[in-house]
């Protein structure tokens, strides 16, 4: 008995060691998750029962909701018309600049079939996997903001890490000022922290943080979080801010997977840098949607992002959190200096 227990413990130790040090166990993990996915569907069953209960909703309620949705649709369509005009205009201007950057990103709607029941790991399981061309490191958004990214792909399911997980870091830009920084999950399931703000950073309560294209993993310009508290402990080098994510992380059953790897224009670098920047400084709302301004930013730093396409998943997710601390803050400064310079010439 003792010998058997010892042997099993040794196997566990070996497995953990192998899992830390290499990717050799990825196949085993994939197979196991695939074989066990029926369990997830069983535990998901009560949720489906509740949804079936929704069929019994009263008719008036449905009618009321219907009119409400119709009105909303009308409003959105009205806005969309404007948006289409802007998009067409943007396209023309980009054509003038000889760049064929596609504006639209590919998205795929997925259903969240399980949330990780470890209270200290903020992960969700989605019902799309490698068969739907989901890849590791893919961005995950919902209707109101960035939710997280894919960290593991199985044949028919995939696992996403939410931005509130303490292991998750996302490069963000303060929409009001353009300051680039990193937002790390706080781990309480609700908030993000910005731990690396310089002491004189211009940031206020209520500032919107949008995703930045630095790092090349997230599509730029999606809202990420809104600042609700700023702390500055005297004697510390960095100011710290706390923010609530704009995405509805714990509500809803759907999420959108975004394919943002449009690399066609990476070669056309310097020329197109100038224009969208001037547009981005203007009205924030339109700039954010229409121009997806920061997508040109990876273009200014092609060596960093261009090489990262195949390697999106290679380093662990903690990577963005620590090393690039120094990188993002000087980088935008350089770009900002460069861009006006090119415009002037």
């Amino acid at each position: 008995m003792g010998l058997r227990a010892f042997a099993l413990l040794a196997i566990c130790g070996g497995l953990m060691f192998a899992d830390f040090r290499s990717d050799k166990l990825a196949g085993l993990r994939e197979t196991l998750s695939w074989a066990l996915s029926p369990l997830l569907w069983i535990t998901d069953f009560p949720q489906h029962l509740r949804e079936a209960g929704d069929y019994l909703e009263s008719r008036e309620q449905l009618a009321a909701e219907n009119t409400q949705l119709r009105e909303k649709q009308l409003r959105i369509e009205a806005r969309l018309q404007k948006f289409e005009a802007l998009e067409a205009e943007n396209q023309r201007i980009r054509e003038l600049l000889a760049s064929a950057k596609a504006l639209q990103e590919n998205v795929l709607i997925t259903e969240i079939i399980a949330a990780n029941q470890d209270p200290y790991a903020h992960q969700i399981t989605l019902n799309k996997g490698a068969r739907d061309r989901v890849y590791r490191g893919q961005a995950l958004v919902d209707a109101t903001g960035v939710m997280g990214q894919i960290i593991q792909v199985n044949p028919t399911t995939s696992v996403g890490l939410l931005i509130t997980d303490p292991d998750h870091g996302i490069p963000v830009e303060i929409n009001r000022t353009g300051l680039q920084t990193i937002a790390v999950g706080l781990g309480d399931g609700q908030a993000l922290q910005l731990p690396f703000l310089p002491g004189n950073a211009d940031i206020q309560k209520g500032d919107l943080l949008v995703s930045s294209a630095l790092g090349g993993r997230f599509p730029a310009g999606y809202p990420v979080a809104r600042v609700y508290e700023i702390k500055h402990n005297p004697g510390e080098h960095f100011k710290q801010a706390l923010a609530y994510p704009t995405a509805k992380l714990n509500q809803g059953r759907q999420a959108l997977l975004v394919w943002s790897e449009n690399r066609e224009t990476d070669s056309a670098t310097e020329t197109l840098v100038t224009l969208p920047e001037s547009g981005a400084g203007k009205p924030e709302s339109t700039a954010r949607e229409a121009a997806e301004p920061a997508t040109d930013k990876p273009a200014t730093t092609p060596p960093a992002t261009g090489g990262s396409k195949p390697a999106t998943g290679s380093p662990p997710q903690t990577a963005p959190a620590t090393p690039p601390v120094a990188a993002p803050s000087p980088a935008p400064a350089q770009q900002d200096n460069k861009k006006p310079a090119t415009t002037n010439r």
């Binding site: 099993l8 066990l36 029941q117 781990g187």
Partner: protein, 164 residues
Amino acid sequence: MTGRTAPHLAFWLSLLVALLLQLMALPEGLAGFRPLWIPLLLAYWAFNEPRVPVLVAAFGFGLAIDALLNAVMGQHALGFVLLTYLVIKLRGLFVMFPLWQSTVGLIPLWGLYAFVMFWIDGVAHHRSDPWLRWTPVVSTTMFWPIVSVLLDAYVRRRQRRQDE
């Protein structure tokens, strides 16, 4: 005891139910207090039934939980096997105790399990709220007498049926 068969079916079924309970969604406030269902069941069987393959089950279900919770491969398997082994070793000591004493006596083992998980998380650089690691110890202790009594009743009825 001779002549009776070991309750293999009940053993595997109870562990499967424990696995499902471990995965079932709970309201946010309660999630931290989810009992350690699988260790609870493993400990029960390790205590009361020497003839079922508890160690192997501990290893297998540990790997399953690792894959499902996306933890480091082997983390939970290690915890389960260690816990089961200790319970088997301590069986001679515990078997004399009434239920409430074994309830108290098992607290250090749940604590040890929680600590091993916490420690592996630390080595793997998974930051987590340390308090959330310890709350299940409380709820597991509360559920131990309930699970014990229920399964005891089942096992005894089964034995009586086999004797007849």
